[in-house]
């Protein structure tokens, strides 16, 4: 059984009543990159980006990222 990191950015945005564009302006990360992160296509996330997103959403890294187990699913994201 392999595991993968799931990004719950969409859920947090709904809870905070924010759009991806608002987050992009607050954090200073392009909309395209945030979209990659939201869709779970990102290979890695920088600590600085993680801190900025957590500050903007007022959450912990654990709220944004969850380790989920699944059969035959490759780990797509890692933290550097």
């Amino acid at each position: 059984m392999s595991a993968e990191i799931k990004v719950h950015l969409d859920l947090l945005l709904v809870q905070r009543k924010m759009t991806l564009t608002d987050l992009s302006e607050t954090v200073g990360v392009t909309l395209a990159n945030l979209s990659i992160l939201k869709r779970g296509k990102a290979k890695a996330i920088r600590f600085t980006t993680l801190v900025a997103i957590c500050e903007a959403l007022q959450c912990q890294p654990g709220d944004l990222l969850k380790l989920e187990y699944g059969v035959g699913v490759k780990c797509q994201s890692k933290i550097i």
């Binding site: 990360v29 990159n33 945030l34 990659i36 992160l37 296509k41 990102a42 290979k43 890695a44 996330i45 920088r46 980006t49 550097i80």
Partner: protein
Amino acid sequence: MSIATLLIPAAFLYAGLVYWLLLRFNFKALWQDNGSPTPTAAGASLTGVVKRLLDFFLVLYLFLIVMWLPFIVVMALSQAGNPGWGFDIIAFSGFNIDINALAGVEFTGLRNPEISGKTSVNLDTSNLFAFYLFASSQLIAAITAFYGVVQLRALILSLRKGLSFTAENAIRIKRIGYVVLAWNLANPLMQYFGWGRVIQDFSFTTGGVQLYPAFEINGGGLFLATLLIVLSGVLREAAALSKEHELTI
């Protein structure tokens, strides 16, 4: 039945076949520019010059490949109708000239009166095997060069778009490397066995001049091929790192 009644339909049939092949292998897509260079692409003007040069060679080699068969047919017809038929070819041969054995020739400045070596020689011959070997080798060279130019042109177009480290470019460089390797391995064999057979058909009344089959490996070409194949591996790793970097938020 005259030759023209055969040749004219055959020419149309061949033109149709060439047209079908160009469509089948999507030559139009191969030819198109794929967009203008991006402002961030390094050396856009230089790649533009190289692209235009490669465009010229792409058309030239395609023309040579397409015209090869009609050329062979015309030569075969002229050979059949002309008893004094002959053709200039370039063959690879070893040679040995023993000046002592040549009547009426004296020398100064040489300790040993022999001149020998390996070189390309121009021959005017009516030997059909030599002609068809020369024509076939030219066709293979043109196809090889055409394939190399197609790959190199695609690489240049990719660089013009600012895409340096991509898996496709790594594959292209590897293909060019394999083509250079195959050519540098096959060419010496063709020189020795093919031209060797042609050379053996020539004879001289004096023992002072000798032509013999020669074998010459192009070390520089093999080194270049190895370098390109290794470089493609490095580029593949760079492409993987570049992709990972792009997907790092």
